[in-house]
Symmetry: C3
Subunit: 335 residues, 3 copies
């Protein structure tokens, strides 16, 4: 495997293999699988789960990793092309990224969306500029539109919980948050649930509909997998019969990159906080999912997050297991 960037790059058998392998590694440790192998971890955006789970994953497989982040005790990194570097930055990513990659057998890179221009972010301009600099295999640890490790982990969580693929009802719901957040998680989660063959409803207020190309990509995947994708602004209708609600805040597509416009749209939407009444018409054991970090009392009420519906810790633990499977296939000796 040369890149783990987007579930859409993989066939059904490949995804099934990764999920099976993640489950096997959960039950049967393989502390020699990646003996002496090194994963470079480059964080151009902050992290907790990804930072911890990748280090743990490599250790469990017998290898190791190192972390580089501009916040650490290193000089500043410049990313603008063609610039004369007579300011404070002492190194350009054109050197830093290939150097960091050269010490690893693979590299994980995290770089959140710039969120200035939707087309540029949809085209993954920034992330592509980084991966073009390297020859080693790479893992997308969250870019403008992708978060494949989260997606694979969530797929495993849905499987672990026995939530139906075809016939399973998955509600991806926008939630309130004081700040505009990137599209990577909602975009790639929508695709994951559709690809799994579920009946997906994107529940969101006016102005927060996901960009059309993302909806189309998910609809195509759902169609091929026996599922469906639709949108709704009506909480009651959307939640009827739901097996799972996946909450996530994201920026308003209608004013992408326009911070004040986005604030004006969201300021009336503080009631988009998932709470017990949301589940009135859902399946009895409807689950609550979130990729974390989550703001308590803002995105979700404490009683939901602390109650039996919540599977957020399982999702987070499955990050490690899903990544172990990816690393095993990327760096391990073929059987």
């Amino acid at each position: 495997m040369q890149a783990f960037n987007d579930l859409a790059d993989f066939g059904n058998d490949e995804l099934a293999d990764l999920l099976t392998l993640a489950g096997r590694l959960e039950r049967q440790p393989e502390p020699d699988a990646l003996r002496g192998k090194v994963l470079s971890l480059l964080f151009l955006s902050p992290s907790l789960r990804t930072l911890a789970s990748f280090q743990a994953a490599m250790t469990r497989l017998g290898g190791g990793s190192f972390v580089i982040s501009p916040d650490m005790s290193i000089h500043g990194l410049e990313s603008r092309p063609g610039i004369v570097m007579d300011g404070s930055a002492a190194e350009h990513i054109r050197e830093a990224v290939p150097v960091i990659a050269s010490y690893g057998d693979a590299i994980g890179i995290r770089a959140f969306a710039e969120r200035k221009d939707l087309e540029s972010d949809m085209a993954e301009t920034e992330f592509a500029a980084l991966t073009e600099l390297i020859d080693t295999p790479y893992i997308n640890m969250e870019s403008a539109m992708n978060h494949p490790c989260q997606n694979l982990a969530d797929w495993k969580t849905l499987d672990d919980l026995g939530i139906p693929a075809n016939g399973g009802k998955f509600v991806l719901s926008w939630a309130y948050h004081p700040k505009a957040l990137p599209l990577a998680v909602p975009a790639s989660t929508l695709y994951m649930a559709a690809r799994r063959g579920m009946d997906v409803t994107v529940l969101r207020p006016d102005g927060f509909g996901l960009p059309t190309p993302l909806m189309d990509k998910a609809r195509d995947a759902a169609e091929a997998a026996g599922g469906s994708v639709r949108e709704s602004e009506d909480r009651h209708e959307a939640m009827e019969g739901a097996h799972v609600i996946y909450a996530k805040s994201w920026s308003a597509t209608d004013c992408y990159g326009d911070r004040l416009g986005d604030q004006a749209l969201r300021k009336e939407l503080v009631d988009w906080c998932v709470d017990d009444p949301w589940f009135d018409d859902a399946q009895e054991d409807c689950r609550f999912m979130h990729c974390l970090p989550v703001r308590r009392g803002v995105v979700v009420a404490d009683r939901v997050l602390d109650g039996p519906r919540s599977v957020v810790i399982q999702e987070a633990r499955n990050r490690m297991l899903a990544q172990m499977a990816v690393l095993h296939r990327m760096l391990g000796t073929p059987a």
Copy 2:
């Protein structure tokens, strides 16, 4: 072993086993003992020895670790219960701690005392709130009142030096420091020396007597082990015949949580800096111990710290060996 929190939780045979194992691992490396095992390290308070020695310990046993600290490139962590998180913190410890724990086979947690309310700190309210969030085995890397890794390391140091248990005279002395410091080290060191069966004198100025429950706990342990515990304000009397002086500054119990009151008490006490004359009536080879970090010229004179009495580096190295023993018993395959 499910928790390593307080030496008082362990029987004599268990402590003896840990000390024996620490000595064996010093002489006979076991680089396969914890192959593929992961220790999560969560630092909610700063660290140098603990940070370094736990990472080294896991590597020496063939496993690995990862470090999470709110100072790192992660979003802020909220710890107040029931709060609506619409401020700067993006994640609550109620999610962060179980997630971090879920990646490890055990977790080490450091969280210093809040030092607002003595009863709350004595009850380990904050640390208990953290460990209640997790199912995995945990290690106390210093809480409000406990620092068991330091205690086990110091016990090993006393053994290594051949300082008598019964009949050995141990002076735990308050020392000057410009700031009020937590009680974890003096409280748990007092217990350690008493539990080892030594004759312990707590040497401290007026107002700095350790809280009565801590003194009582130590007296009970000393009694059971053939030792004794007493207090003194008189340096000459306390040091007579001493085998070891363990210096440490701590906050004034009489005005706990009252920074100005504490400052008023300590400002006259700058002469509580351990220096050569302190040893006039001690054993010829009386040792100087300190858990580090130590302020030179403030807590102890350079000539003592740099002289032959000082065993502070040995204590620090024994941190790693003691922790290796704990990790081995916690995570290793039973023989």
Copy 3:
């Protein structure tokens, strides 16, 4: 090997052995060579390549490492001798360094020059004060005048590229940089190229000649190895027939420690930026080397750095391989 501090400390056969071993480890991994061994890494100055490559090196050899830097979540470190520590620093390097060293089988230390006094820096006063505190083997990760890991890596790069030793023409060129930079890389690179037996030209503007003792040391090494060392201010003459130009900015020797004097000297020298015309009379395939980080458009033009002459990424990757050889000889079991 007790110390890796300066290539001058090693015989020709020892250097050849390290280079051969680095090449072998590149082709044949040895993930068991340093099983359970620990490298302590102490960064008193910032780092990217060194930080990453040493961690990767230890993992590839089956051991591990930990990193301590005063920027991390630790209390401040005091380095002045004899001081009364009643300020903000909570720990002195006299304790911190031996403690950190005590957890490793070897320690790597980085401490850039103070650049106040040339004689003190030439005598490595500060670095020697650190290494005197420890008994364990140590690696110089860049001090005032030495950077032996960079030198060994560059030597390997020259070998890998088939650049002649005797008869090979090596130009060490000063380059513009907005700030005065340390002498460690130019001083030790000059020695490396001379020791390899190359014909070395130090190309630099007036006022930036390297200190006489460094030139003399290099001349002696060149003489013994069949090479030569000379200086020039004339770019065209210096580059004639060159096999490689190694660019690096450094502070003005004539006003060492005098920041304003240095600025006055360098402000007219912005044209010392390596660009295509520099190569007019060089060997057709003359290479561009730099230790990184490098400022684009300041030290070197983008078209040189991005073109086929540039071998800066290979140099950086060879850091890891050279360090693996050093660690193997320092910590491995003798054959």
